[in-house]
């Protein structure tokens, strides 16, 4: 069996509730395997709270950052939420500009977000306001960069032999 079981009815419920919220929800659509909701940064915490309380998404599966260099809103966070009772998963995304890399913390909703947010801060430099202990977690404390941003080179930055252009892409 490929992919998760599709929960059409529950997806539809979430979709209707999100569309009813109006302008702060940028997009609600089914992406390959999961329903994906794109939210404006300011409304993110409210939407997560509604999803947890009204739709039973009691567990936060993952929280991770993304970096899209060159786009207007460069940094993004992605949440995967899971309603274990119904076996229903969704994905919530939000984006922010590089000069205001801040979101409201989700630790008050799910304590599990604590280390996940620290990891996101550590690797992407995305700050979570209201986090109880926002400091680096996997890298050393005085590490000078945010290494999962695309502009941080993995190896010698002058090296070009692994560029996609050499492989016809």
């Amino acid at each position: 069996m490929l992919g998760f079981a599709v929960k059409t009815e529950r997806d539809q419920l979430v979709k209707e509730a999100m569309v009813a919220r109006g302008g702060t929800i940028l997009q609600v659509e089914h992406e390959r395997d999961l329903l994906c909701i794109s939210v404006e940064k300011e409304a993110l915490h409210d939407v997560l709270g509604v999803l947890r309380d009204d739709f039973g998404f009691g567990s936060l599966t993952t929280l991770c950052g993304m970096h899209f260099p060159g786009e207007e809103l460069e940094l993004s966070v992605v949440y995967h939420l899971h309603n274990m009772r119904e076996g229903h998963r969704i994905r919530v995304k939000s984006r922010t500009a590089m000069d205001h890399p801040e979101f409201r913390t989700a630790v008050d909703l799910w304590p599990a977000a604590n280390w996940m947010e620290r990891e996101t801060w550590d690797f992407f430099g995305i700050r979570f306001t209201g986090h109880p202990n926002l400091k680096r977690i996997l890298n050393m404390e005085d590490f000078p960069a945010f290494p999962l941003r695309k502009d941080y080179p993995l190896e010698d930055p002058t090296r070009q032999d692994k560029d996609d252009s050499f492989f016809g892409r």
Binding site: M1, L2, G3, F4, A5, E31, R32, D33, L34, G58, S59, L60, T61, T62, C64, M66, V78, H80, M84, G87, R89, R91, W110, P111, A112, N114, W115, M116, E119, F123, I137, L138, N139, M140, P147, L148, Y152, L154, E155, K162, D164, F167, R169
Partner: protein, 411 residues
Amino acid sequence: MKQPQRPNFWQRDLVEGKDLRELTTLNLGPTHPATHGIFQNVLTLDGEIILDTEQTIGYIHRAFEKIAERRPFYQIPTLTDRMNYCSAPINNMGWHMTMEKLCGIELPKRAQYMRVVVMELARIADHIICNTIIGQDAGATTPFLYVYQWREKIYDIYEEICGARLTTNMGRIGGWQRDWNPLVWERIGGILKGLPPVLKEFEKMLVRNRIFMDRTVNCGPLSGERALAYGFTGPNLRACGVDYDVRVADAYSSYEEFDFVIPVGQSGDTYDRFMVRQQEMWESLSIIRQALDKLDAMTDKTSIHADVPDWMLPPKEEVYSAMEPLIWHFKIVMGETDVPAGEIYHCVEGGNGELGFYLVSDGGRTPFRLHLRRPCFIYYQAFPEMIKGSMLSDAILTMSSMNVIAGELDA
């Protein structure tokens, strides 16, 4: 066993209201024989009672998520090996299934059952490690030596399948590289026959043992609600009484065809975690038996790979002797296979819980972003809450029963 947090009256200066306790700061780790891995806990102790813990992790962080962004999809399984190295095949299979989900590849049933067999063997090996170490930390050294040898026998099977014992890099995207030889089947039969009596002896030694129960019952307990809030998955969540198992909730690799029980505990203490893992080993043995029966009953005795030439390596003999297969081989290994753009999340039931892969592909040679959901990383943050108010020796047992694997914790 929990002790009160606030100072008792004899520990307080009744006139000035000061706390007269002398608190000790103790560094447990980074390298300590009882932590079974490289992580540090700075404990604040009142005598032998733990008041607070500050965790430091990241000592073996290797930036797999970053490395993956520069690696062709075909070369990523070697990174997944090194996460939970106690059950590396599950990680490998999880990654292959993620890629299959992205590319829309469906495996023949025989290859799926072979995956089930190897994943359950890996789960047994993982649980043997965890449970014998609980015994070891509670003072029973024998199982650590006696039951542990069965892990070695499972590693012999890995070795026969793929040539490696610990970091297996087993299987391929779309199935298996080659069929298993007769020795593999013989050794799996040996496990099915030889392991149950040893497990019985192990259980006879510990399960109703007064000393073991005194040490583990009510040691590091956690309620189901707190466990869910902390994002627990796997045996640790089931020990708290929540029957969530990815194999049932989001069945993959034909798990929906197998008949097995999800064991659950009640209080989420060390004893329950031990018992859940112990019971899961029995269930895993039963799943392997069912898979072997299904394989025997199949008319198909040869298919090991989906019909996807873009991912299937040519036979090694031809690669070494002919030009076309050599080119074909390199095109696959160096990432010349087209991968569709898109984002997917896939998860499998790893040894420690829901092992997830969030893969974002932009259609290039390498992932645009790969996020690894490592169950250890998520549940280890509950450790301070679990040990607060208990004794130092209970903290050691709680940690080993949570099965925190440094490789998975730090990725």
